[in-house]
């Protein structure tokens, strides 16, 4: 007879890791919100070479994160590493655009303003930190579950043998 713990583990043989997968999808949504919020930066601060790079990176991020969400859904351990890398990059992105924009002033109609206002900066940081947090948590959950599942399957195969 299986106890509740082993039933819970055994269930993983047939159910998906939807927790991790959904967290990654949430990370993509938060990233999209961050990206959209950038367009509210004053004047031409954003409209330079960084814009193209930023768009390209967002496309890459969304593709990689989506593939990783599918990977973690099936308890693929290696995707935990991918999620951690993506999470670190999300944190790094705070210092690539929001922080410099928040420290830069531009003149609009003779009035000197911050390129990214305090409110906008706070929101951008929240989106990126939230996105990164989702990715880290998803990675940890997936790592823990996939290891437990591997051990359970090895145990079952041992019993068969």
């Amino acid at each position: 007879m299986m106890n509740d713990q082993s039933v819970r583990l055994d269930r993983m043989r047939f159910t998906k890791n939807t927790t991790s997968s959904r967290l990654v999808l949430l990370a993509i949504v938060l990233d999209a919100l961050y990206f959209v919020s950038l367009y509210r930066i004053n004047l031409d601060y954003y409209y330079n070479m960084m814009m193209g790079a930023s768009i390209l990176y967002n496309l890459v991020f969304m593709l990689a994160a989506f593939l990783a969400s599918e990977g973690v859904k099936n308890y693929k351990q290696s995707f935990s590493g991918v999620l951690c890398v993506l999470g670190v990059i999300q944190i790094a992105r705070i210092f690539i655009l929001p922080v410099p924009a928040h420290q830069t002033t531009v003149t609009v109609g003779g009035v000197e303003l911050l390129a990214m206002s305090n409110g906008q900066f706070t929101r951008a940081v929240i989106y990126l930190v939230g996105s990164a947090a989702c990715l880290f948590v998803a990675a940890v959950i997936n790592f823990t579950k996939s290891r437990a599942l591997q051990a359970h399957i090895a145990g079952l195969e041992g019993q068969k043998a």
């Binding site: 055994d10 269930r11 047939f14």
Partner: protein
């Protein structure tokens, strides 16, 4: 444990077409009842009324004494298996089987145990992570059954579940259903137009035609003592031969042929002297070596038996199922005799039994 009682059930559609007339049956706990009949006879309609998918126009439906005539389908504690499986294509087999229990918000650990137990019964354990499209028709039908089993319903309803399968798979799945019934000892209602399924599966058969119940009985009763010419012709393959005859001077006289009767048969027809009746003889009750000359026009070898089709008397068609391998040619004349005979009233089409009229 479930007893189902259908009392004077009628189904009348909005356009005043009546599909089922005065359907009555008490189904015992653990009994497998098969509703059989040709297309359009009302058998599926009856099953859908029991499931709650169709309204009951008149009559009562009782489950363990509780009136569920107007109860919605979800409250009837019945599970239905459909001809087209009705599986969710985007879900795995495990998810398909667990789905109804998840909707009921049962404990996932309990669901897991139920799904594994059902998969074990049906031999689906190794398929649980696959999608329905990766399974054969027979396996998909087993998944549909598994989905019913996990719910542990009081009554299982099967609506022609084997019709989409090829002949070989149908036979195998039929045996699985029979084993499943023995294992679960559950009350089951099964609809089919295939008399072989009906005869092999049923504890009792309900034979229907044009919305009317023609006979309710064990497979042997329907085969051996059909109530009327419809049941006699529907049950049995090839179907029973029917001959218009007159009972006179202790024998049956047809067009160009005469059939002698035993004392018991004469006693059965005692009240039909000089009256026209219908004589029914099953092909397997015809044997070589009798007094009837039959001119053969077709000889079909089936291996263990041979179907011989021919004409006797004034071009009266007859089919005989003879034991062994025969090689009659078109135009050959063979002497045949009737062993077991069935008699039917020509006007009512009802069977004539000793003491009738």
């Amino acid at each position: 444990m479930a007893q189902l009682s259908l009392q004077h059930i009628d189904k009348i559609y909005d356009n005043n077409v009546q599909a089922v007339y005065d359907f009555n049956i008490d189904i015992k706990d653990g009994e497998l009842i098969v509703l059989v009949g040709p297309s359009g006879c009302g058998k599926s309609t009856t099953l859908r009324m029991v499931a709650g998918l169709e309204d009951i126009s008149r009559g009562n439906l009782l489950l363990d004494g509780r009136d569920i005539t107007r109860a919605p389908a979800k409250d009837r504690d019945m599970a239905m298996v459909f001809q087209n499986y009705a599986l969710y294509g985007h879900m795995t087999i495990y998810e398909n089987m667990a789905f109804s229990l998840l909707l009921r918000k049962e404990d996932p650990n309990v669901i897991h145990k139920k799904v594994l137990a059902a998969a074990d019964i049906l031999g689906l354990t190794s398929q649980l992570n696959k999608k329905p499209s990766q399974l054969s028709g027979g396996q998909r039908q087993r998944v549909a059954m598994g989905r019913s089993i996990v719910r542990n319903p009081k009554v299982f309803l099967f609506d022609e579940p084997l019709s989409n399968l090829d002949a070989k798979l149908r036979g195998a799945t039929r045996r699985e259903i029979l084993l499943l019934h023995k294992r679960l000892n559950a009350t089951m209602m099964y609809v089919t137009h295939d008399q072989t399924e009906a005869l092999t599966l049923a504890d009792r058969i309900v034979c229907m035609s044009m919305g009317h119940v023609q006979q309710v009985g064990t497979p042997l009763e329907l085969y051996d003592s059909p109530n009327n010419t419809f049941v006699a012709g529907f049950i049995g393959l090839p179907p029973m031969n029917f001959f218009d005859v007159t009972f006179e001077n202790g024998a049956l006289h047809g067009k160009g042929f005469e059939v002698a009767l035993s004392d018991e048969e004469k006693a059965t027809l005692a009240n039909y002297n000089r009256k026209a009746i219908t004589l029914g003889v099953r092909p397997e009750d015809i044997a070589e070596g009798g007094t009837l000359a039959v001119k053969v026009f077709s000889n079909e070898n089936l291996g263990m038996n041979t179907l011989v089709h021919g004409h006797m008397g004034d071009n009266i068609r007859v089919t005989a199922k003879l034991r062994g391998w025969t090689d009659y040619k078109n135009g050959d004349t063979v002497q045949l005799g009737f062993r077991r005979k069935h008699f039917f009233d020509k006007e009512t089409t009802n069977a004539i039994r000793k003491g009738d009229r």
